[in-house]
């Protein structure tokens, strides 16, 4: 029988708009103020990877990065959303240049008295192996771009899952002013499959999803202070978290990547011969107890 009662509250899974299930363009629209999304270098500009077709891989017209201008509560903003469905959100020469170029544009914009908040959707496996050093060079430019910009305006990272954020882009995530994650997000240098392949099944079983998310999942990363905000996989919740992060004045709290002594102290309490499990690490690096 069809449900006709209007008063009956719809179940939460119908009310929620899953951010994970959105594509990059929809994600940008969900974050920016309604009607302000204006894409830069869109698919019809056809800035594709020149390297993928030479290696038998079909290129995408936007190279998997959607750059858009818009506003956040009326303030100037730019979003860079990586499309994780295309080549695992990997960063190549063109896609990397789009990210780095946006950061540079935002920096120039600040210099000209028009501060622009940047939101990065960091759903990425890291460097695109087919483009090797060109991708790595682009990632280095992205890092430099974030560091230059974050001194003046907030650079907000979002990892929604379920691909996660790895390799050089995990460093980009760590450089952000504020990092927003969901439970479904993953954050780490090497992906579980890579670790299993390189170090063997005894080191890490990449098929053990519970173990993987306990180690590098969004909740764990938030609990040990490597992410700043933990939200549900809900477009409105993520948009609200981004807005909250965007009003913090830059330089108020030192960026994690400048807190060298704090992180060295953290490493000192770990014995590599007896690696801690997820719960032990949470106790050691708890965001509540740590100064």
């Amino acid at each position: 029988m069809a449900v006709t009662d209007q008063d009956q509250e719809a179940p939460s899974y119908l009310i929620h708009r899953s951010f994970i299930e959105m594509r990059a363009r929809e994600r940008a629209r969900a974050i920016l103020d309604p009607g302000t999304f204006r894409e830069l270098l869109g698919p019809f500009d056809r800035l594709k990877s020149p390297w993928l077709p030479r290696q038998g891989v079909v290129a995408q017209a936007d190279d998997g990065v959607v750059v858009a201008r818009g506003t956040l509560d009326g303030r100037r903003a730019a979003t860079v959303m990586i499309e994780s469905a295309f080549q695992g959100g990997s960063i190549g020469e063109v896609s990397g240049a789009k990210v780095a170029g946006t950061l540079e544009l935002a920096y120039n914009s600040w210099e000209n008295g028009r501060p622009t908040i940047v939101v990065l959707g960091l759903e990425s496996g890291g460097v695109r192996l087919q483009e090797a050093n060109l991708g790595l060079a682009a990632i280095a430019e992205i890092h430099a771009g974030i560091i230059a910009l974050r001194a003046h305006v907030p650079v907000i990272g979002v990892i929604s899952g379920t691909v996660g954020c790895f390799g050089g882009m995990s460093l980009a995530a760590a450089l952000c002013t504020c990092l927003v994650v969901t439970r479904e997000a993953r954050l780490g240098m090497n992906g579980p499959e890579v670790i299993e392949q390189q170090a063997g099944l005894a080191e890490l079983d990449a098929a053990d999803r519970l173990l993987i998310w306990r180690l590098i999942g969004g909740e764990q990363r938030y609990s040990i202070g490597l992410a700043d905000v933990l939200v549900e996989d809900d477009a409105d919740a993520i948009a609200a978290a981004v807005r909250a992060a965007s009003i913090h004045s830059p330089g108020k709290s030192p960026a994690p990547s400048t807190q060298v002594i704090r992180f060295l102290q953290r490493l000192k309490c770990i014995n590599p011969a007896e690696p801690p499990d997820a719960a032990t690490l949470r106790a050691l690096w708890s965001r509540e107890t740590e100064p």
Partner: protein, 99 residues
């Protein structure tokens, strides 16, 4: 990887350009743009070789009803014929009909 070209006589016009889909496993990306002349031109980039006749069948069926002058670029990553047809219809709907 294979590059396929198709051309169909057409009479109508589309209102605007349209972009749908992603080059993701089992999916494809379509870029549809208005053009001049009396034909629709389709370029297919696909990562799966040897299915030219299947592409021809799907496109012929689509152009039985679509009939619009347009430049269409398809970047395919192993979409099934059903998925291709749905994406083409989605693009046609987004492009609209020129009044």
């Amino acid at each position: 990887m294979e590059l396929l070209n198709f051309s169909y006589p057409a009479n109508n016009r589309i209102a605007r350009r349209a972009h749908v889909g992603v080059v993701a496993s089992g999916d494809l990306e379509i870029l549809m743009e208005p053009s001049d002349g009396a034909h629709a031109h389709i370029v297919v980039n696909t990562n799966i070789d040897g299915f030219g006749s299947v592409w021809r069948n799907v496109l012929e069926r689509f152009f039985l009803r679509f009939d619009a002058v347009a430049r269409i670029e398809i970047n395919d990553f192993g979409a099934t014929p059903g998925a291709v047809m749905l994406r083409l219809q989605q693009a046609a709907e987004a492009a609209g009909r020129w009044q």
